[in-house]
Amino acid sequence: MYFVIKQAIEIPEAELLKMYRMRYKVAVEQWGWNIPTAKKGLDKDQFDTRFTTYILVYNLNSEMVACGRLNPTVQPHLLSEIFPHQCEFSGVPKGKSIHEFSRFIVDASKLTHSQQVRLYLLVCLVATEYAISIGLKQLTWLTNKSKYIKSIVVWKTRPLGLPQHYPDDDAEYIAAIMDTTNEAVRRLRRFCKLEGPIPLSDIPICDSAQAA
């Protein structure tokens, strides 16, 4: 697997398009998310900005298999603009040391269940290592109950509000805040059977060449 973490402006447009396409395929077509801004096979919204940092994961065939999005909470982001009602306990957390983690997508069609579980953890690990490296203390996210449960295993996780049911998706979502600590990194490395940091790669060259 190749793990890439880059800011939006460092990523070629072709790769961003691939990511928007994968997000649409998984989130809209498979999970049935109702995303008003998603159209023409692309999931791109107002929070895909120049301030956004992306995690992109490619398999050995240079196919994109997972992605995640990190937005500074001092800028408009999903929780502040669309889902503030999910943070009823004490408001939407904002600050320089807090980023929002969203659009965490793993393309299950290319992976077995055990590969998905492992990749899920690897993306959590790479996000946590990156967050610590740039001085972030916490990540927020809006997630379903099942992923909230998983996040507790990984990070110290607190709810920001009660779960709310969305009839269009027939799912309950909960906003949460997680501490990005060295303890979380240790736990994730143990789960992934890794002893050191995940090496970060550049975008696989042959893939970009094909896209171009």
Partner: protein, 248 residues
């Protein structure tokens, strides 16, 4: 901001405080006690936390969790009569992803299941609610709490559910059974067989090397496929190598 005051208490503050207290505990019993303090403020008088595992799929480092504050007599009665296999709450848990009341489980229970819940009333288990802890692949456990009368305020129940989830996962962490995230280990024999498979040997060849029946080898490999969630021989080998279960 914040949810309202209910039953003269602030459920948000109580819930968040309970999560903090639970996460500072270092034993299963202390975590259970901290959780009980929270739910008893809302009229609940018993707690049971259990972990569901499929022993075919999972090698646990320690036994599955089953902790309760039940009276010793009821605990003994429950175990000695093998109620685990028939308890309507556990059976209903397998098909419900949402919290359900004990009364609902009773409705769908077998005759024997109904008897279990009726017996439990002798120990003051009149009603209660069960919170399934489910992930994408199904139920992994349950937090079940009893009360004379279940409070049906949705805000209270929603907060109790969140505290239950945090408590359950903390207990799982304490017990070292985070099986959702760790691949099942292969047994010594399975490991040995996978080494020969990785070397390209056939089932017949492996059976001769190990002095076992060829069908036994097939059975071992079926178990390996089940544990690793793989579809064929090559897939099993590559998955086992990738996950460090065998060394290439």
């Amino acid at each position: 901001m914040g949810t309202g005051v209910i039953m003269g208490k602030n459920i948000t503050e109580d819930g968040l405080l309970a999560i903090d207290k639970i996460e500072h505990t270092e034993t299963l019993e202390a975590a259970l006690a901290a959780f009980k303090v929270f739910v008893s403020m809302y009229g609940f008088n018993s707690v049971a936390i259990c972990q569901l595992v499929n022993p075919m799929l999972i090698d646990l480092e320690s036994p599955p969790i089953f902790i309760t504050d039940w009276p010793d007599k009821w605990k003994e009665h429950w175990w000695s009569n093998d109620y685990m296999q028939h308890d309507p709450i556990i059976l209903f848990l397998l098909k419900s992803r949402k919290p359900f009341s004990w009364a609902t489980a009773y409705q769908y229970a077998s005759k024997f299941g109904k008897k279990i819940l009726e017996d439990s009333r002798d120990y003051s288990f009149n009603d209660g609610i069960a919170f399934p802890i489910t992930t994408g692949i199904g139920p992994m456990g349950c937090v079940s709490i009893g009360a004379d009368e279940v409070p049906f305020d949705p805000q209270v129940l929603a907060m109790i559910e969140i505290v239950s989830i945090n408590c359950y996962m903390h207990i799982v962490k304490l017990n070292g059974n985070e099986h959702e995230y760790t691949m099942a280990k292969l047994s010594k024999r399975e490991n040995e067989i996978m080494h020969y498979v990785a070397e390209g040997k056939t089932n017949w060849e492996i059976s001769k090397i190990l002095g076992l029946n060829e069908y036994t080898i097939k059975d071992y490999l079926k178990n390996v496929a089940c544990k690793l969630n793989t579809v064929n021989r090559a897939h099993a080998v590559s998955t086992a190598i990738r996950n460090g279960l065998i060394i290439a």
